[in-house]
Amino acid sequence: MLSRRDKLYTGIALIIFLGLLGILNNTLSGYHMRLINLIGINIILVVSLNLTNGFCGVFSLGHAGFMAVGAYVSAILALPLTKKALVLPELPTWLGSIEVNFLLSLIIGGLVAAFFALLIGYPVLRLSGHYLAVATLGFLIIIQVLITQLSHITRGARGINGLISYTNVWWVWGTVIVTIYAVWRIVNSSYGRGMLAIREDDLAAESLGINLTSHKLLAFCVGAFFAGVGGALWGHLITVVNPLSFDSNRTFNLVVMSVVGGMGSITGGVIGATLMTIVPELLRNLEVGITIFGMSIPPLYGLSQIILAGALILVIFFRPHGLVGNWEFNWNFLKKSKNISKTTQNL
């Protein structure tokens, strides 16, 4: 629970941060703003993944599948009617004749993703460890196949393009705040403690009255909800959704972000997502090739991948629990001087 002081600090920090975003939004190029939005979307995805994989210990590889569900649902719902008639003429009439606003399409996208999580959760969450990981990967593949096959709704492998670029810095970072807040509330409640207990020792947890299925399902569904919302934001950022965008590669990228930052921490999720979005982008510049003093260094294709993989191995080797481990950000560093003076008074 936050003290009044912590609330004040958090409020001030938020205002400063949002102000900064506003300034950047008006000064930075489109490319840079897009990068900032991608960071935000990845934070949404990784923090929600951490709730499932890190806090509850349910190691899911299905996150990209839930993203896909959210992205497609939101894309179809929010597409303007005139475009819908052109792009998706084969839609069932009830779907073809509705257009919902962006906010509602995000929420419905998240809810449908959570509903999928509920459906597959019952059978899959009985499994543990590797079996669960493989089963969730199976779910991801099924989703891709479904999207490809249900072409009257999804346009199959071609994907749906021409989405309106609703996603902007406020939608993204507003959702980031909501995601972090929700996960933080859950983690610091009986629900979150139950999840931690399951991660630590499920048999002991159950023997102390924790319902394994309901806690795992909660973690899985909340994770899927925000994955769905993140996917929907992403679709409306790049204005295209197609099945290839939500493949196992994307899941693995998210898992890498989560592991690098620290799976069992919200802060870890934020740091992992931020770093692993920015660094590859910086490294990509290496691949174009440069000319220095007439000497031309040829483009080194694949170099960024190698550097990234190397960095990953180093992180795992030296910080097996991620950069921050289970640590969470707090304001104690501002209070330290006060505490010391208090203790000396007591002496």
């Binding site: 629970m1 929700a182 509330r185 859950i186 409640s189 009986s190 629900y191 403690r193 139950g194 931690l196 207990a197 630590e200 020792d201 048999l203 002991a204 947890a205 159950e206 023997s207 102390l208 009255g209 924790i210 319902n211 394994l212 909660l218 289970n326």
Partner: protein, 264 residues
């Protein structure tokens, strides 16, 4: 034997049996446990003592037989349901939530009776805050009852072995049980720690109105604490009676006590 008549039976076990493939780990185990009694379950390694606990707590259902707690049939119930109805336990090989703090370990057990819902959690409602504070206060009381409150901020895995055992007891107590099952609580403790533990268990029993089943190899602890003993050997109840009767039972001396008194 007067207590048996005075107090009502809180746990009644009728002929539970557990078979693992070919092996009969527990064969026709019976127990009538009056409220407020401490009963000892002893026997050689592999006799089936822990298996009895596992059946009573729902870790696995008995192959045959019936378990009645406070008059209702709980045979085949899931572990979380059984502990909600009032049987809590500790584990022979400590199973703490090792990366969580001592306090969190106990709060997790105490939250078995929390009432707030998911929406209250998300909006951090007044009832949420109030209940959370109560949970923490309650958990701290249990830590104090076991004399380990000073460690509350530490990670469970960093505690000394004896403290970990006590934390497991505090955690089980925090579920507010009718019946507490202790699986070798003194294992790995030195003689002084065992004696302290003995006093603690007696104190807790009175303070929290507990009925206790105690598995223990340390005969000093068992003989001192228990009003009645059951001896298990190869899954069967070999003998049952007061510590005095058990000590003088020829069968028991041959099967179990002979060796352990010799080694003690």
């Amino acid at each position: 034997m007067d207590t048996v008549k005075k107090n009502k039976i809180v746990l009644s076990v009728e002929g539970i049996t557990k078979k693992f493939k070919g092996l009969v780990a527990v064969d026709n185990y019976n127990l009538q446990l009056p409220e407020g009694e401490i009963i000892g379950l002893i026997g050689p390694n592999g006799a089936g003592k822990t298996t009895v606990f596992n059946m009573l707590t729902g870790i696995f259902p008995p192959t045959e037989g019936k378990i009645m707690l406070a008059g209702s049939d709980i045979t085949g119930f899931r572990p979380d349901h059984i502990v909600q109805r009032g049987i809590a336990r500790t584990f022979q090989n400590i199973r703490l939530f090792s990366n969580l703090s001592v306090l969190e370990n106990v709060v997790i057990a105490a939250q078995i009776r929390k009432k707030y819902g998911f929406i209250s959690t998300l909006c951090s409602s007044a009832s949420f805050t109030k209940e959370e504070n109560e949970l923490i206060t309650k958990a701290e009381e249990y830590l104090e009852a076991l004399g380990i409150a000073e460690y509350k901020e530490q990670k469970a895995k960093n505690l000394a072995y004896g403290i970990q055992r006590k934390l497991e007891i505090a955690r089980a107590l925090a579920t507010n049980p009718l019946v507490l099952l202790l699986d070798e609580p003194a294992a790995g403790m030195n003689p002084q720690e065992s004696i302290d533990l003995m006093h603690t268990i007696r104190k807790l029993k009175d303070e929290f109105n507990l009925t206790v089943i105690l598995i223990e190899h340390d005969m000093k602890v068992v003989m001192n604490l228990c009003e009645r003993l059951q001896v298990l050997s190869y899954g069967k109840i070999l003998a049952e009676g007061t510590p005095e009767e058990i000590r003088n039972n020829k069968l028991v001396i041959d099967a179990y006590l002979g060796r352990s008194t010799a080694s003690a």
